[in-house]
Amino acid sequence: MRFIPCMIAVVLSACGGDLTPNIDLTEPPPDQLSDMGLMAWDGNAPVYAEGVHTYTLNTPLFSDYAVKHRAIYLPEGTSASPGGPADVLDFPVGTVILKTFSFPADLRSPTEGVDPKETRMMRRTEEGWESWPYLWNDDNTDADLAVGGNVSVVTFIDPDGESRTSQYLVPQRNQCSECHQIEQGEDVVMAPIGPKPRNLTASGQLQTWIDAGIVTGLDTASVDGAVVTEGLDIDALSGEELNHAARDYLDINCAHCHRPDGVQGVTSQLFLNYENTNDFNLGVCKRPGSAGLGGGGLIYDIVPGNPDESILAFRMETEDPGAMMPLLGRSLAHNEGVDLIRAWIANMPADDCQ
């Protein structure tokens, strides 16, 4: 099984000629996304103002096969450096991150018939990160601030050519914090999830940012880059590569909560962050405290060698909303991700946990 190539590829950002960044951190976010002057939608893809950098993640978070366009704007003359919360880059005040979720009619042709659904905007103020959902209008001419989120049905053809229907949830503003909150000392702060140095190395992207001066204080040689899942052939991986890819997948898809400084996930004592080295906390022969429906009648999070008996695989596969993980952002199973995690568990030396 392969991860589907070209889920987005790097979008060649056609510059929106009439876009001029207009970021005022002293005001609440504008009611219309266009008022920020950072992006617009043109046909099947976004266009961005000059100075807005598009980027991809080595291993992206799965969101019901939504195609994601990521872009970041840093105020002129500023740069990001290592040391932000949860291993993410520490971005300067005034930074804006835009992540647009869209659905092509047919994911086998992901650049045609693309309909933007929502753009999630994070902005870095003096007080920290804020997160705001914008919902695209029917004509894709603009996106409206939608603090209450939205729930709707989305239908598309998946990469295997099958029709899929998603109960697509645009999170309420307050739901953003369910994934984006992190403990920092005594405080709970908001933080982006994706832009960790190790998740930005694909295609020389991080080096490009360093060369452009928007990332400083970092040597790419010291970065243990996450596996690039685009086009990944699971069957061809060595055991070590499989472990790396699986841990990278769990890190981006699960570890925003399941990490020792996570707010939502710490209760479970299941730590799926890449840095965790404790097998019990990784789920090996670990009973969940209170998985509820999510346990699927199984006993342990991971039974080495036996994905069918592992709750971790079950919770990724199931489409029962009372049982599935992650908590938010999917209603469908990510077949390729499930295959990766199942292969990883199957490859572990067998242990019945007795």
Partner: protein, 462 residues
């Protein structure tokens, strides 16, 4: 001081009577910022909950608020969410059944929720997390299907809250725990009704809990107290008194989790718990066992899984004398338990032997007593230094399990580890059943002093 919304005395009196259909509350009754919402205003309500400012009161009118996403309250303190009564204001999550959402989900200090029902949540009905000074009053959580493994996990669920009061509420039909107090400090849980859940009322990894006046009936287990393996908050000082735990014989319908191991017919168990005082409660007609005192090793036998990294341990533990290892603390022991002044009637007459693999304890009790009534207090005796089936002076009580004067008590030490290891079907000749006054369990006070009571949230006087 927490600025409670000032509810006029008349409304307060009426609100105390939840059966009354005359109960109404409006913003006229409230001092401070307040907005009212009818069942027609759901979009406005959702938007408002996402743009909160401190001290806002949200009042919901009568009727069914049909929501396709949870109410998410974040980013502000002293928010009040008030309905017109448990029978009159209903937040119904049925339209969100395809989404992974709770019912009402709050993070914020000083939250007050009262006089409403939350039903049919996909996950938890009322989840309050990481907050201080929380009041949950006259809130019903339920699922329309009745008890079902398809229901959400928890009903009323404060987790990692310090100072929480849950009173006069009803928690029904949850597939895990109806009223679940998890990883809290200072919890007062009083005068609630828990029915039709797997675990009725659960005190988990919680410090200083005062649990009284509650009615637990028709659950798989009535009131349970335990610590989870590896959880950084070590439970302590749990005072369970003046509760009624009756007819908790519902077949276990938990889809998973530790509660799935509970035999139907369990009144109360404590597991990996310490400084627990059970007083003036009534256990009646719980068919497996009235009270079980269990080591954490009874369910998770590898001590390593109970190790908490010292750097991660939260809350007050220094005086507990917990077992320690190299940089870790262990919380699997159940110790310092006082059971006095309670009434036991007709329990243990028909233990749940339905699942030998999952619910070993039920099967064991069934085999051991062979149709006779199970002793009202069952102690597993795990990790005690001395044991004899007949000579009480040879039986240790290292864990300070104290059985004072109770009505209708009898006690057994199962010597569980050895009984299980033998692989033989045990008989009553293999266990220790002391006669009153139950030496060596005849201590009458908790070592280290009486349990410390849970404090009420700020602004609540009694």
């Amino acid at each position: 001081m927490r600025p409670l919304p000032l509810i006029f005395p008349l409304a307060l009196v009426l609100a105390a009577c939840t059966e009354s259909t005359l109960t109404t509350i409006s913003c006229d009754d409230v001092d401070g910022a307040c907005e009212e919402f009818t069942v027609e205003d759901i979009d406005a309500l959702i938007d408002r909950t996402n743009t909160l400012e401190d001290g806002l009161t949200l009042i919901l009118g009568e009727g069914d608020f049909m929501l396709d996403n949870q109410l998410t309250l974040r980013g502000a303190s002293d928010i009040s969410l008030l309905g017109q009564g448990m029978d009159l204001t209903v937040i119904d999550l049925a339209p969100a059944s395809e989404s992974q959402v709770n019912g009402v989900d709050s993070v914020g200090d000083g939250f007050l929720i009262q006089d409403l029902t939350i039903q049919n949540a996909t996950k938890d009905a009322l989840r309050v997390e990481d907050s201080s000074n929380i009041i949950i009053r006259r809130v019903r959580t339920t699922w329309s299907a009745g008890p079902s493994s398809e229901n959400g996990a928890y009903g009323i669920y404060p987790v990692r809250v310090d100072h929480v009061l849950v009173e006069d509420s009803e928690a029904l039909n949850a597939s895990d725990a109806g009223l679940y107090v998890g990883q809290c400090q200072h919890a007062v849980i009083r005068n609630n009704d828990v029915r039709g859940n797997v675990a009725g009322l659960e005190i988990e990894n919680t410090q200083y809990a005062d649990v009284y006046g509650n009615m637990a009936t028709d659950n798989t287990a009535g009131i349970v107290i335990f610590d989870l393996p590896g959880n950084p908050i070590v439970g302590r000082d749990v005072y369970i008194h003046d509760n009624t735990i009756v007819d908790n014989n519902r077949d276990n319908f938990a889809p998973s989790g530790i509660v799935r191991a509970i035999p139907a017919g369990t009144g109360t168990f404590m597991l990996a718990s310490r400084r627990v005082h059970l007083s003036n409660n009534t256990w009646e007609n719980n068919d497996s066992v009235a009270v079980a005192v269990l080591s954490g090793l009874a369910i998770e036998s590898d001590p390593a899984t109970w190790a908490i990294q010292d750097a991660n341990v939260l809350g007050d533990v220094d005086d507990l004398g917990l077992m320690t290892g190299d940089g870790v603390t262990f919380n699997f022991r159940t110790e310092n338990v006082l059971i006095e002044g309670n009434t036991f009637i007709g329990n243990g007459t028909s233990p749940d032997t339905s699942d030998a693999e999952l619910r070993e304890l039920g099967l064991l009790l069934g085999l051991l007593y062979g149709g006779g009534a199970v002793d009202s207090v069952v102690y597993d005796g795990i990790a005690e230094s001395g044991f004899s089936t007949t000579d009480g002076t040879a039986v240790s009580n290292d864990n300070s399990v104290c059985i004072g004067a109770n009505e209708g008590t009898s006690v057994v030490n199962l010597n569980l580890a050895e009984v299980l290891a033998s692989g033989e079907v045990p008989t009553l000749d293999d266990v220790f059943r002391p006669a009153a006054p139950f030496a060596p369990y005849d201590c009458t006070a908790l070592p280290g002093g009486a349990v410390v009571l849970g404090e009420l949230p700020a602004g609540v006087s009694e």
